[in-house]
Subunit: 542 residues, 2 copies
């Protein structure tokens, strides 16, 4: 027997409709590519997205066609998002930090029909234009600009399109499992892989994101998503913001510490989200400027393991709750968030700091498990100590990659994250390493992440990667690849001495190799597979 309640599909358009109707005058501030701040609100964003929906229709575009964006976090990008997904098309947000050949690859792989772009990226587009022949329309996110037309004569302009169309548009209603958006992994190996989100997965994810045990988003918040909209949809915040009707501060291209401190203080931001490296520069800038970031009650840190010192500084010097989260492009990204339980309120300072360094626990909607790395059908104990392959399933977790013939999940329906982790009895998860980066020395594991974290604590080391080098006796042994600080004369012995007392002696790297530079991928992660190709045999020749 079926229930007798109304059925409405969970569509992204319902989010912007809610914001327009109940939070129409709530401010959306946007830093444009020219550095100006413009003020809008949810009603205007909604109306403009409907104008654009009419424009896309007039251009002959159809539902399920892929529409790409190459843009910063700004209001036009937000309006394009809602217009595209709301119309039933698929919003493909592209990471401009990918290499040009990767950009061409994913635009062609996605079969993108339209490319919206910020003027910043015009040089990039002219570079790859000859290899992306499928794009029918290039739309510049701004008003008419002749200098753009000189380089890309067929360009249409966002503001002109809006001016040509009315906001009289009814969002189509369709199956909630319809595809809404597409992101590609940055990929440290092989081609980037597409993840195709649905309306249902995006809306349920947005609801979960707002929960008090996740981002605790409310209409009292002034939200600054520093994480780009091309990184897993800014972790879903533009959807969650409309769902709650909070105020949005869109930071545009300038993500340096000084710019962010100004935005936070000028607009009384209550919550900002970003990656650890950005947060380190924010803290430095705030200290230099003498700002206490007083409006900011909490911040969510994800994208990479956050150094404990960053969490501590936020708490102690800025009275700001720094909350560790974990997720991936394949997980929309919300996997875990480090929020405490009632029983933790009485923890000592030291115990609380330890808890706070964990990646946190899953909210309702996702589940985790850890699996033996050798016997793939064997669960590993969730005791906070035993390590295993981290797997996840839930409403907003990938089932298949966009690209055909590319399996994403196990036979029994879990996504293997490629991470090695522990889970404790309360569900708090700790990432130990990427499984492919773990160093297996004589049957024991050494975490490359741990060795790297220690190395960068050394004042003369700028960047370090620990890789597994093949070893005739132990199978693998750690080798440390180091980029020194400028003018540093630190040598191998000094670096190795630095490990003494910090890790067990058998975990200390066998060798240090100094290099000028370590290549980063589009997401700012070290391309350790290249290093391993180059240096993986170094211990065999000793």
């Amino acid at each position: 027997m079926l229930g007798k309640m109304m059925y409405q599909p969970l569509l992204i358009s319902s989010l912007i409709e809610h914001a327009a109707k109940y939070h129409g005058d709530t401010a959306i501030l946007s830093k444009e590519v020219d550095g100006q701040i413009t003020t809008s609100d949810w009603l205007t964003v909604s109306n403009n997205s409907k104008r654009l929906a009419n424009a896309l229709k007039a251009l002959g575009l159809n539902s399920s066609e892929r529409i790409a964006t190459l843009a910063w976090n700004n209001r036009r990008h937000l309006e394009a998002w809602y217009a595209i997904s709301g119309s039933g098309m698929i919003c493909h947000t592209i990471n401009p930090r990918l290499f040009p050949e990767q950009l061409s690859y994913i635009i062609n792989d996605a079969d993108d029909q339209v490319l919206f772009f910020d003027i910043t990226f015009l040089p990039l587009i002219t570079t790859i234009k000859s290899s992306i022949k499928g794009i029918k329309h290039f739309i510049c996110l701004g008003d008419r600009d002749d200098s753009v037309l000189e380089q890309l004569p067929e360009t249409l302009f966002f503001d002109e399109l809006l001016a040509q169309h009315t906001s009289d548009f009814d969002w189509p209603q369709f199956d909630e499992t319809t595809a809404s958006s597409l992101c590609y992994t940055s990929g440290t190996t092989g081609h980037p892989k597409g993840i195709l989100y649905s309306h249902r997965s995006s809306v349920l994810h947005a609801m979960a994101l707002c929960m008090p045990d996740v981002a605790a988003l409310s209409a009292q918040d002034i939200l600054l998503p520093v994480v780009p909209m091309f990184h897993v949809n800014a972790w879903g915040t533009p959807y969650a913001a409309a769902l709650t009707g909070c105020s949005l501060i869109l930071p545009g291209p300038n993500l340096d510490g000084d710019s962010l401190v100004s935005l936070i203080d000028d607009y009384q931001v209550t919550l900002a989200l970003g990656v650890p490296t950005i947060w380190q520069s924010l803290l430095t800038a705030a200290k230099n400027k003498g700002s206490k970031l007083t409006s900011m009650t909490r911040t969510i840190v994800g994208g990479a393991a956050c150094p404990p010192s960053v969490i501590k500084t936020f708490r102690e010097d800025f009275d700001c709750d720094a909350i560790h989260g974990w997720g991936m492009t394949e997980t929309s990204p919300l996997g875990t968030m480090n929020q405490i339980k009632a029983k933790h309120k009485t923890l000592s300072e030291a115990e609380m700091n330890k808890l706070r360094n964990s990646q946190g626990r899953p909210p309702y909607g996702v589940e985790l498990r850890i699996i033996d790395t050798e016997q793939l059908d064997k669960d590993v104990a969730e005791d906070g100590l035993s390590q295993g392959n981290l797997q996840i399933r839930g409403h907003w977790i990938i089932n298949d990659y966009f690209t055909e013939n590319l399996d994403a999940i196990t036979e029994d329906g879990w996504f293997d994250t490629g991470d090695i982790a522990t889970i404790d009895t309360d569900g708090y998860m700790n990432i130990c390493d990427r499984s492919k980066d773990l160093i297996k020395s004589g049957g024991e594991w050494i975490s490359s992440v741990e060795l790297e974290n220690i190395a960068v604590e050394h004042p003369q080391i700028k960047m370090a990667a620990a890789i597994a080098a093949t070893h005739s006796q132990w199978g693998e042994r750690p080798v440390l690849i180091v980029v020194k600080e400028q003018d540093s004369a630190v040598d191998e012995t000094q670096v190795l001495d630095f490990y003494k007392g910090r890790v067990a002696n058998w975990q200390i790297p066998d060798k240090v190799i100094f290099v000028d530079n370590i290549l980063l991928n589009g997401a700012g992660k070290m391309m350790k597979n290249n290093l391993r190709d180059e240096h993986g045999d170094v211990l065999l020749s000793l």
Copy 2:
């Protein structure tokens, strides 16, 4: 094109699975019918609900069959809930305050197969037993008790059933729109009407309930649902509690002020939910006991318009945020919640008090509109002043009544609440009156609720109902039915004088009728239709 994310149905069983896995040791405290407090936790509740699911299966019960409960808020009732809905059966919670003939009616109308009951209700069951022949099994929520068997020899006992079965049970997976639970309206006119919730509507409602702009429920909370589980599923809190893994304090049968103050103080309750009359006795008891209810940071008040004085006392004397909510059995019940927006933070005390008396705004997932009372296709302006028929739609709003051939919604898909309301430009809604209780005097409306609120401010008036009496010149005029405080000698002139300056002169009732008692329905609401039948012609005979 469909998205490529995992699909899992939104089932109630997934809530208890989450709580058991990630919040297994979080306390569930339960005041039993004998006054003892027992301690359990989410893992135990989950295991017991699986034992009971096995027991129900062994009794030969099938999915979609209706299983009734006649019980207080306690742990066994909670376990029964999850066992019934989790198994795919329909949990029919019965309000024991209904008249016996109404109880028989709804048990037969629902075709209930099993009746779980607290021993408190044994006399009620023996009274109606001969008229509820469809019940195959009576299950007492307790351990074996021979005194029960003397009166109802076929009784099975909950604790014995659990002991006979293991917790080895996999929750079945099925369509998320499957019916999960059934509540009947208390009904001031006609037969009670059944509302049949689905798994999807219940889970989405629970997610919405947890939002910071609704109940802001988290794993840090210790939740006391004073509102009974037979009143719209305790407003959905037992589902929301499992979803967040918060601690639950189930208060059992004793809902007097003293008992509640003790529970709040002894178990450090952070959030309690209940109706205004209960809250008034709670505040009196707290003052008498000298309790400051320090652990309670907020309370949600619903079920009836809350006197402003109650909200003010909570805030000023107990530093507790009293949050006004509105909903109905047909709306699961979450319709609106009075939570502020960022722009309200700078309101003056007086402006804030005014805002706080509104029933609040709808969360994402429901929409409101107000419709002209004469021209039913005409929207009324949402200006905070214009009144109209309040209509609602959304994921957890009724589409049809359980009983066949009983339409619930308008042609264009909205549920008419039967309330007259205003909505302001920010979406904040104020209930003015039930549409059938409004008094239409010479084309102008007079709110019966407003007249009643003023009457009960008079120290010598215990209860008052304002009804529309037929009038030869004005169509209708207000007449006030009054129950005096004991030994009071207040007379008609004094009562009418009390209105001067409090309402416009033309709104003052034409007549006061003193009675010994006003009949209440099962939900504690005055049965004004009876009064109108009796006194509706009183002005014609003048």
